[in-house]
């Protein structure tokens, strides 16, 4: 499912010719109208509503707690998934073995699973009725309806991002450089750090940024697993819903605008990386 992650590898392989025709005609207008209605209008609405009078809502304790929880979740989820992405990229592109396609499909799975099902899975695993429920309850450990559950659900939903990006990238690059390094006597770590990492840095960076955006923005899975305890287990997207339900439409959009800014930064980063990937590393 490399297409889903907007693989830079394919773009890197392409050659861009400037055989563009100058602005013309009904086709362009039609395309622009489509994008305008579907993408630009919602984007504009977020900021228009937020600026109406909403920004005070961000300073409230519940909103600040939500921001803290979102940042904490991302701070745990992104490094873990990056580690996984690196391991999976190495394992799946540098070796050939049976069962590779099974692993690849498993990595793709969260893309196809509805986020509410993801939430359901963790409730069933760690809730009081689940296999671990009694054990956790005796020790007073809270997983679901608390931060650990939110982290787990977010981990599940976002781990493919880094992995898939790296797999596509590393596949395209081939193994020759690493093999040459090994032949020349470099150890595994040396090869990895000195040869692989510099080569994949743009793909890695983009995967990390995308994973981060999705980790901070996840709603469905977290909604099922969170206890909706105000000031404690509400992330920013959940807090947006809370404000929306408390007649604070502008406040909801104010918090939403923070998340939208993050999305725009993600887009800008992609654009930036895309323009840099052409440079030799």
């Amino acid at each position: 499912m490399s297409g889903a992650v907007v693989s830079l590898a394919t773009a890197a392989a392409g050659r861009r010719r400037d055989s563009r025709r100058d602005a013309g005609g009904p086709l362009v207008l039609l395309a622009l109208a489509f994008v305008g209605v579907l993408v630009i209008a919602p984007l504009a609405l977020v900021f228009v509503e937020a600026f109406r009078k909403g920004f005070a809502a961000i300073a409230e304790p519940d909103a600040l707690a939500a921001i803290r929880l979102t940042l904490l979740t991302a701070a745990i989820v992104v490094p873990l998934n990056t580690l996984f992405g690196l391991a999976a990229g190495w394992a799946l592109t540098r070796f050939d073995f049976r069962g590779k396609s099974v692993l690849l499909t498993l990595i793709d799975l969260p893309f196809a699973v509805s986020p509410v099902i993801a939430g359901l899975l963790f409730i069933q695993l760690f809730g009081t009725r689940g296999p671990l429920g009694a054990w956790l309850g005796e020790r007073g450990l809270q997983v679901v309806f608390a931060t650990p559950g939110i982290v787990l659900a977010t981990l599940f939903v976002t781990f493919p991002f880094v992995a898939r990006e790296l797999i596509a990238f590393m596949e395209t690059q081939g193994r020759e450089q690493e093999e040459a390094a090994t032949v020349l006597g470099a150890s595994g770590w040396q090869t990895f750090v000195r040869v692989t990492l510099p080569n994949i840095k743009w793909g890695l960076l983009y995967g990390v940024i995308l994973c981060n955006a999705r980790a901070m923005g996840e709603f469905g899975a977290v909604s099922v697993v969170s206890g909706h305890v105000r000031g404690e287990t509400n992330t920013m997207p959940l807090h947006v819903e809370v404000l929306y339900n408390e007649y604070q439409l502008s406040g909801a959009f104010a918090v939403a605008s923070l998340l939208t800014l993050l999305a725009l930064v993600t887009l800008a980063a992609r654009h930036f990386i895309e323009s840099r990937k052409g440079e030799p590393s």
Partner: protein
């Protein structure tokens, strides 16, 4: 004797399998285990209940329609982005990924406000007698939003890679623009377009946050399957929630395999 040319097989594969096992397989197994507790007839009764079937029709139908719209419109957008120069092209190009990067809840409340009876789009539509929000129409719009980047981003690289010599050759051989498009370009681009369409479809069937604010959530009419799963869970109907989750998982898995097959086919 070394099996592989490069080191690190054990560590990397081991970690990968461990992570996948803990994070994916074990949680997924809870659905399977819980559903196995049901007898086959009981499972079938839940999975084929009229309300569930209505939700499948809506979810898969709306997703398919949205994917088809994206197939056509996304192709058009990709075409325009690759082949034309116009002011703001880079800006539009960057924005295409917005549905991908934007949190689903934000998309949800924004689209619900936009399509509501007082919204920028909903108000004029309401005047024309079309109920935009709380109808299948609204759901299709939300799913089109969600799936837009998939088609555009799968088709774009292929269009960019298209050697101009192909079209020039066709032109010298006397083909019209239309014929060139149909017989030369389309076959090249079609696999990517279909892959993008399938990706958009797969994403749409599971979509929750973007849709529940704008959907009506009326049983049998505007209730999507993910919402039905959540509703059953909230009613203490764990068996029902798991049964439906299993249905969705099976469909998603089959779709994944199909998409991977498609990608392998189009890479040839």
């Amino acid at each position: 004797m070394k099996r592989f040319a490069l080191p690190g097989f054990g560590l990397s594969t081991g970690f990968t399998v461990l992570y996948l096992g803990l994070l994916v397989l074990i949680p997924l197994s809870t659905v399977v285990v819980n559903t196995l507790n049901l007898s086959w007839p009981a499972f079938w009764a839940i999975a084929s209940a009229p309300r569930a079937v209505a939700s499948y029709r809506l979810t898969f139908g709306a997703s398919l329609l949205a994917a088809l719209i994206n197939g056509v419109a996304g192709f058009l957008v990709a075409w325009v982005l690759v082949r034309y120069r116009f002011p703001g092209r880079r800006f539009v190009d960057a924005l295409i990924d917005l549905p991908f990067a934007l949190p689903t809840a934000v998309a949800g409340i924004t689209l619900a406000t936009l399509l509501g009876p007082r919204g920028w789009i909903g108000a004029p539509l309401a005047q024309a007698g079309i109920a935009a929000a709380f109808s299948p129409f609204g759901i299709v719009v939300a799913l089109t939003f969600v799936g837009l980047p998939f088609v555009v981003r799968t088709v774009q690289p292929v269009l960019e890679d298209l050697a101009p010599e192909l079209e020039e050759a066709a032109a010298t051989l006397g083909a019209t623009a239309g014929q060139t498009f149909r017989r030369v370009l389309l076959p090249h681009v079609l696999p990517a377009a279909i892959t993008g369409l399938a990706l958009a479809f797969a994403r749409s069937i599971g979509e929750y946050g973007s849709v529940i604010f704008v959907a009506g959530n009326m049983p049998m009419r505007t209730e999507i399957t993910p919402l039905l799963i959540v509703t059953k869970l909230e009613q203490f109907d764990y068996a029902g929630a798991n049964a439906l989750a299993l249905v969705m998982l099976v469909v998603s898995f089959a779709l994944l395999l199909a998409i991977n097959g498609l990608q392998r086919w189009s890479a040839r």
